[in-house]
Symmetry: C2
Subunit: 342 residues, 2 copies
Amino acid sequence: MIIDCHGHYTTAPKALQAYRDAQIAGLKDPSWKPSRAALGISDDQIREGIEGAQLKQQRERGTDLTLFSPRAAGMGHHIGDATVSQYWSEICNDLIHRVCRLYPENFVGVCQLPQSPGVDPKSCIPELRRCIKELGFVGLNLNPDPSGGYWREPPLTERWWYPIYETMVELDVPAMIHVSASCNPAVHFTGAHYMNGDTTAFMQLITGDLFKDFPSLKFIIPHGGGAVPYHWGRYRGLAQDMKKPLLSEHLLRNVFFDTCVYHQPGIDLLTRVIPADNILFASEMVGAVKGIDPETGFNFDDTKRYIDAVPLSAAEKKKIFEENAFRVFPRLKATLSAARRG
Amino acid sequence: MIIDCHGHYTTAPKALQAYRDAQIAGLKDPSWKPSRAALGISDDQIREGIEGAQLKQQRERGTDLTLFSPRAAGMGHHIGDATVSQYWSEICNDLIHRVCRLYPENFVGVCQLPQSPGVDPKSCIPELRRCIKELGFVGLNLNPDPSGGYWREPPLTERWWYPIYETMVELDVPAMIHVSASCNPAVHFTGAHYMNGDTTAFMQLITGDLFKDFPSLKFIIPHGGGAVPYHWGRYRGLAQDMKKPLLSEHLLRNVFFDTCVYHQPGIDLLTRVIPADNILFASEMVGAVKGIDPETGFNFDDTKRYIDAVPLSAAEKKKIFEENAFRVFPRLKATLSAARRG
């Protein structure tokens, strides 16, 4: 079984963006109140988007299951206040749930949180609980920078974030550390902010001692870990200068990297440097890079081909494609079994 | 000849930091005026710092010449106003000049600019001219984020920066794009801000068309290009989605990467992905990572060993170690000849 741990709902029916546009337009109108509008999206509309894109690509590429969350750039935690973020998150998560009910063998939900800059992350717990306990989701996306490119929140190792971690441990779910759109004109979203978010978060984890307080907490750093595996020597050296334990002890019981690296040399480096136990297969399709690589004739984000080509054993590849996902997302097995029972 | 294109004066006598501390303390005192204080640093004090560190390591590692600039984290463009930055830059650049006069075969100067957040970069031109024309420097460090981690300046492709570029073209000098310290508590300086600065700047260059306006302008992206070579497929794909030319045409006539990547797998990837014509040898010693790698027994930043070990031809290695530096820093040959004439 091949599990893609990183897919976003980038092909949602237009009514979703229309709701969001109305929500954003309303922010300028003092008489406007955010509401949980009915979107009027039919199951057929959902099928149309999914079957022509994510499901089609699963079939073409030979992957089985995508851990599926709302569009990352669409989370837009910097827009409006916590109530706006709350309603928007509920709607987005509900749509993910509908996709997962329509295709229970192909998609399992991961939620976005109703974060808002400077707002106590405690406010996200009810929605997190709802998604895990009621909707059957298996993980969450945590945005380390809800300001959208200005990095105003405390580092992830600060107590500010602990209420989220306590709930994660209680519910036994991991978080993918994933920023959203950049509203900083100097910082391109998929070409800079995403990479920077991954790199910054990892360095925060080196600097702190978070996993002493939460030994079972699990994070996935997406996009192959940003700059981290390429600079693994730098990070080992910085940790050593800071008198931290070896990264294998300090972080690698708790931190995992996905395989959203869109060329063979990058995946070769990732799998050479990071233990197979810490790598989870992912493509982020249909996502940041949509085209066909003229050097290979295949989609840049068809990452399964790169993993197939690396000189790892079959057992190691099975970890990357499947076993690690079940280990990092402990609720996944039960969710899939429940879905199969119907 | 082996030229290290990226070294900072991290071992300056303590009087330099004492001046800076007084300058910073003065910012809180309304009666204080910034001044160009005499530092009272002797040649012997300079020799002591250099001979026990940078010069010693040049000899031990078998490198010949370092392109030497003030400490990057020390530039601190976010501190005080443009006058504070002006005086601080003059003092730092003058000290670099003294090092280069004491060791003309071993060090050639690269300047810091008196940038200040939100201040027209035109204000930096007199100091840039002075360093190149009077002090014999061959390049500059350009900080794309003088706010120190908040990214408030326009992208490098905006006309805001053009006065600097016009002067660079006139003087025939390249810029290393190098951020300074981070004053953002979420963003570690050498572990996140430096990498993010490199990645962000490269993505700005993809998005714009700067080199249409300045076909001879040259930039060096340090630290192996941040996340860029590891994600070369992503950047090729993003450029393609944006209908830009191939990166080889769009950027690689003007953009170069250094080799400050502190482990063999990273250098292997860099030299596999980026043409040898676009790679300049560098170590940034004595810099961000000072320790010995327990996996190799050698310093993490002894990058010459990694280049020695890659499967490139002798001709390609000669480009990386020497020839590209003379090409990217066109004033270097004349500066060295003048130094040898005494």
